[in-house]
Amino acid sequence: MNDEIFLNEQVEVVAVFKPGRTMCEPVKFRRKSGRVVEVTEIGLRHPVTHGKRMMHIFDVTDGGADYRLEFDAEHLTWRLTIEADKL
């Protein structure tokens, strides 16, 4: 079954906002442990709403593991919510 680990970890993110497929591209992020993850590819960016509150979900990879980053457009915060390092 799924290999994902569900998390709710606030992370520091360097992102580039530019026109294109995803409009916003997380480039790298620092985890609570201090480890920096360099994003090599953004798989998909899709919005989800919790009522009127908009979140942008980024499925990204660093080549060794897949991550899900959630950007809260209301509070301007980034959270790491899924990590999947096995296949």
């Binding site: 079954m1 799924n2 497929r21 798989g43 899709h46 009522g51 990879t61 897949d66 296949l87």
Partner: protein, 413 residues
């Protein structure tokens, strides 16, 4: 007089996302690309496969197989729990792209839609549809992602366009015209035709029709009076010849939801709690379309006795979760034990007419119910689905998650 083939310019395009949910997952997680992936609705090995990637299909994994059985065929198969918001996003992206080409776009399900170019602008209409088909494929790669492939079929009617879209999977583009119609049908089996399953195949066989070409050449009267015993026979006669008979929009007549139990032989009280949750979701669906319901059906499939159902048509229309649940609970009293799956459906849907004479007779009562229901709906719309719900269904969201139904996409706008 025998009806000839439709020789008009093909102006109907059918677009079908290949193994949609699996492909979207492979798009979202690049490390899944090129690997066998199965999408399931629950995080368990005993669950059925909803869809799978082409890599999994290549080794014999099929839809509807249990994940644990599929893993015997393909030990490296990766089971992924479905993630509806992702699929909805891709659905909307596909619809956005399709809407750029014609005023007439109809999504047939979450992963396929039809563009009718007879209702487009002159500038688009004069373009070659094959070029537009390749352009849509390119836009899907550019605007959604490189893993997203689709099949495109072009013909003179919806049926043949869909048939064309299924000829070369994955990522094909085919055109069926009166020139190649016989050649295409000669390469198919009867059950390859959309709408012909084993039951209809037997009925066709009974009159000596064993191939799609024989079906094409069959007499309209035989199809109408002997095989289909209805006007459907005439529709099939036209459909196979490329004439349009399926350009119809249907109004919403019913709404509901079903759920396969999360435990073996749950007691009635637990099933009832799940039924209550389904009633709340059904009520929200009905109201979101500005409708009222007249009837409720409760259906259950059991471990021992197959299917059971009960229905009730109310004298007055209703709309609140409480009213739907009250009717459903009364019906459920007659349900058998050992329920495996439960479903609730509201039928006889009609648009809200607050001036209706029947409703005015119960004016105050209905106005009060409507005010409370509207307030709850407004709060849920502002703060999130099911922020306010019945205390009885507290915690039920952990097992009754949102799922994507195949078929209608009416609730996805």
């Amino acid at each position: 007089m025998k009806l000839g083939y439709n020789t008009a310019r093909p102006l109907v395009m059918h677009i079908d996302l290949n193994s949609c949910f699996a492909t979207v997952e492979q798009q979202a997680r690049p490390r899944l690309r090129g690997r066998p992936v199965a999408i399931v609705n629950r995080r368990t090995e005993h669950t059925m496969i909803v869809t799978c990637s082409y890599e999994a299909k290549a080794v014999g994994v099929k839809l509807g197989m249990r994940l644990k059985d599929a893993k015997k065929l393909c030990p490296e198969l990766i089971g992924i729990e479905s993630d509806p918001p992702k699929y909805k996003f891709v659905y909307h992206q596909l619809m956005r792209i399709m809407n750029d080409y014609s005023a007439y776009v109809r999504m047939k399900s979450i992963d396929e839609g039809v563009i009718d170019f007879s209702e487009t602008t002159a500038r688009i209409g004069e373009r070659n549809l094959v070029d537009i088909g390749y352009e849509i494929k390119q836009r899907l790669w550019d605007e959604v992602g490189v893993a997203m492939n689709c099949n495109v079929g072009i013909s003179t009617n919806r049926f043949l366009a869909k048939t064309a879209a299924g000829l070369n999977k994955p990522n094909g583009l085919d055109v069926i015209t009166h020139h190649n119609l016989r050649e295409v049908l000669a390469g198919l089996e009867l059950t390859d035709i959309t709408g012909i399953a084993s039951r209809l195949e037997k009925r066709l066989n009974a009159v000596g029709i064993y191939t799609p070409l024989e079906f094409l050449d069959a007499d309209e009267e035989i199809l109408q009076k002997v095989v289909f015993k209805s006007v459907d026979g005439s529709y099939w006669h036209k459909r196979l010849r490329g004439w349009e008979v399926d350009k119809r929009d249907f109004s919403l007549k019913s709404a509901g939801r079903q759920f396969v139990m999360d435990g073996y032989r749950l007691p009635h009280a637990d099933v009832l709690k799940r039924l209550h949750h389904l009633c709340e979701e059904t009520g929200a669906k009905v109201r979101s379309k500005g409708m009222l319901a007249r009837g409720v059906t409760v259906y259950a499939r059991t471990y021992d006795y197959g299917g059971w159902h009960a229905k009730y048509m109310a004298p007055l229309p209703f709309f609140s979760n409480e009213a739907i649940y009250a009717h459903a609970r009364r019906l459920f009293e007659g349900a058998p034990n050992g329920i495996k799956m439960i479903a609730v459906t509201c039928y006889g849907l009609q648009p809200v007419d607050i001036h209706s004479r029947q409703l005015q007779l119960f004016g105050d009562e209905i106005a009060r119910e409507q005010a409370i229901t509207s307030a709850v709906d407004e709060i849920n719309e502002r703060y999130g689905k099911r922020v306010i719900h019945s205390a009885d269904t507290l915690g039920s969201d952990t097992y009754l998650k949102e799922k994507i139904p195949f078929g209608s996409t009416r609730y996805m706008e």
